[in-house]
């Protein structure tokens, strides 16, 4: 009888694992790039929190609070829209800073399950990230990490606000940013 109950439980496990309305689970991405330049020189380019001119998608950046914890920067994107971020940690010695998104403009709205859902510049929720420059093999490695939830926090997200949409949108910010940073640093 006990064995039978166990068999049922194991069966239930597989059944449950394959069924599934999905609640949101936090996602993470790490993008890295090797740069043929000293880490100090690479850090010099990105060290000012309020200067995102090295990122090809950013039109302009304004900042309040410099490089102090709590500083707020607003980036206006070339494709339109703004992203507001707060500086959470800044460590010049470790050539690293961390920040989180506090606000974003809405690009459009869609209809989902009979409700209007705003689509933000990045279809993510509770986004935090850090960027770090490290010495590597006589040059540098830049490590950009981001953690976030998908844009839709209830069950059954629309395609525009699911995990895949969030992940590809974040990659589309991190990758060209790092590539351009490499280009600038290696041209110096």
């Amino acid at each position: 009888m006990k064995r039978f109950a166990l068999a049922i439980s194991v069966f239930m496990l597989f059944w449950i694992a394959s069924a599934g309305a999905h609640g949101p689970v936090r996602q993470k991405i790490t993008e890295t790039i090797i740069v043929d330049a000293p880490p100090e020189a690479v850090w010099e380019i990105i060290k000012d929190y309020g200067d995102m001119s090295w990122h090809p998608k950013v039109e302009k950046t304004t900042v309040e609070g410099g490089n102090e914890k709590g500083a707020v920067r607003v980036m206006t994107l070339k494709d339109g829209g703004t992203i507001t971020e707060e500086l959470k940690k800044y460590n010049a010695k470790k050539m690293s800073y961390a920040y989180k998104i506090t606000d974003m403009s809405t690009v459009k709205t869609i209809e989902h399950l009979g409700k209007e859902e705003p689509i933000k510049v990045l279809p993510v929720t509770t986004y935090s990230a850090s960027i770090t420059v490290k010495a590597k093999d006589g040059g540098s490695e830049v490590i950009w990490k981001a953690a976030f939830y998908r844009g839709y926090m209830n069950n059954n997200p629309p395609e525009e606000l699911n995990e895949a949409a969030a992940t590809s949108a974040v990659k589309a910010v991190l990758q060209p940013g790092l590539e351009n940073l490499k280009k600038i640093a290696e041209a110096k």
Binding site: V10, M12, G23, V25, K28, K100
Partner: protein, 331 residues
């Protein structure tokens, strides 16, 4: 440490005996780290500091609780809407128990007889009998219940209600909420001390820790820490409280006598679950972003080891057996 034998509780004794016959006590303390992004649990042998086995559990495992004797390990699967039961000795999956829409926090009574599962969406705590794995009760609490602790005397269950900014005190016998404490904004993890007198609650949104006296459920102190405090653990004879700061990649250390932060230690990326080894000196921290566990020496206040685990290590709950030696409690 505790070995009570109350002759009037024969039924309980028989049940407990059955539990221990079925699953002999475990000598080596293991740390059970839920890896939310690869649906596994990494089992760390704390003697060698290595992962000895990785077990596939349910979908997106998050919460974890270990019985005081280490014989059973319970893991919540929020996406699988269930909790998994692991044998703490052979490290095999014994069962999966369906719960509700969003099981997250999980705790086990000091006797090992009851399992409490908090449902994030349904604002309820589900109570299970550990032997039969049958649901035997449910308790309405505040909104989005998360961390839970049972008092060492097995009389009260404490539940952090994240959205309600409160902690519920529940009579374990009657399953009634007997008191509620106001804490900081969005309490998540919490720890009760060995005397069962004080609760330490990490408030994710107000970036602080609330200390609550459980007798009147009133605030004793509020201690500011770093960004996004997530969970807590006591060590060194309850003199030091360790708090993971999820957004600061650090652990704050509070002197529980003065309520002052005496150190902030760097750990891995996005530290979440935290638990103290039964030696009362080593504190284990699951780093969600970095897929590893930092081991902190609670006396010297430094990281002494980093152990690679699985993807999205979360380990929310008491993921290491609490007691130094396997104990037998009959009531």
């Amino acid at each position: 440490m505790i070995s009570l034998l109350d002759s009037s509780k024969t039924a309980a004794v028989i049940i407990a005996a059955a539990v221990f016959l079925a699953a002999p006590a475990v000598a080596v303390p293991y740390a059970y780290i839920t890896n939310q992004l690869d649906n596994t649990v990494s089992i760390i042998d704390t003697a060698s500091g290595t992962v000895i086995k990785t077990v596939v559990v349910g979908s997106k495992p998050a919460g974890v609780a270990v019985t005081p004797d280490g014989a059973r390990v319970y893991i919540t699967n929020p996406e699988g809407k269930s909790f998994s039961v692991l044998d703490g000795r052979r490290h095999e999956l014994l069962a999966s128990v369906p719960v509700s829409s969003g099981p997250l926090g999980i705790a086990v009574s000091p006797t090992g007889e009851r399992i409490f599962v908090a449902d994030w969406y349904e604002n309820e705590v589900f109570v299970f009998d550990a032997l039969s794995l049958q649901q035997i009760g449910r308790i309405g609490v505040g909104q989005s219940p998360s961390g839970m602790e049972v008092s060492p005397d097995n009389r009260y269950l404490y539940v952090a209600n994240r959205i309600s900014n409160s902690v519920s005190k529940i009579d374990v016998k009657t399953l009634a909420v007997v008191a509620t404490a106001d804490v900081g904004r969005h309490p998540f993890g919490l720890t009760i001390d060995a005397d069962g007198r004080r609760l330490y609650v990490a408030n994710v949104e107000s970036d602080d820790v609330t200390v609550v006296d459980v007798l009147d459920m009133k605030k004793v102190a509020t201690v500011p820490v770093e960004s996004l405090p997530y969970a807590t653990a006591l060590a060194v004879n309850d003199t030091r409280l360790f708090i993971t700061n999820q957004d600061d990649n650090s652990v704050s250390v509070i002197d529980t006598g003065t309520f002052e932060v005496i150190a902030t230690l760097d750990v891995g990326g996005k530290p979440e679950g935290i638990a103290t080894h039964p030696d009362d000196r080593h504190v284990y921290v699951a780093n969600w972003f970095d897929n590893n566990v930092s081991v902190i020496d609670a006396v010297l206040l430094k990281t002494v080891k980093t152990i690679t685990t699985g993807d999205g290590s979360r380990a929310f709950g008491r993921f290491i057996r609490k007691n130094r030696w396997p104990i037998v409690i009959t009531r």
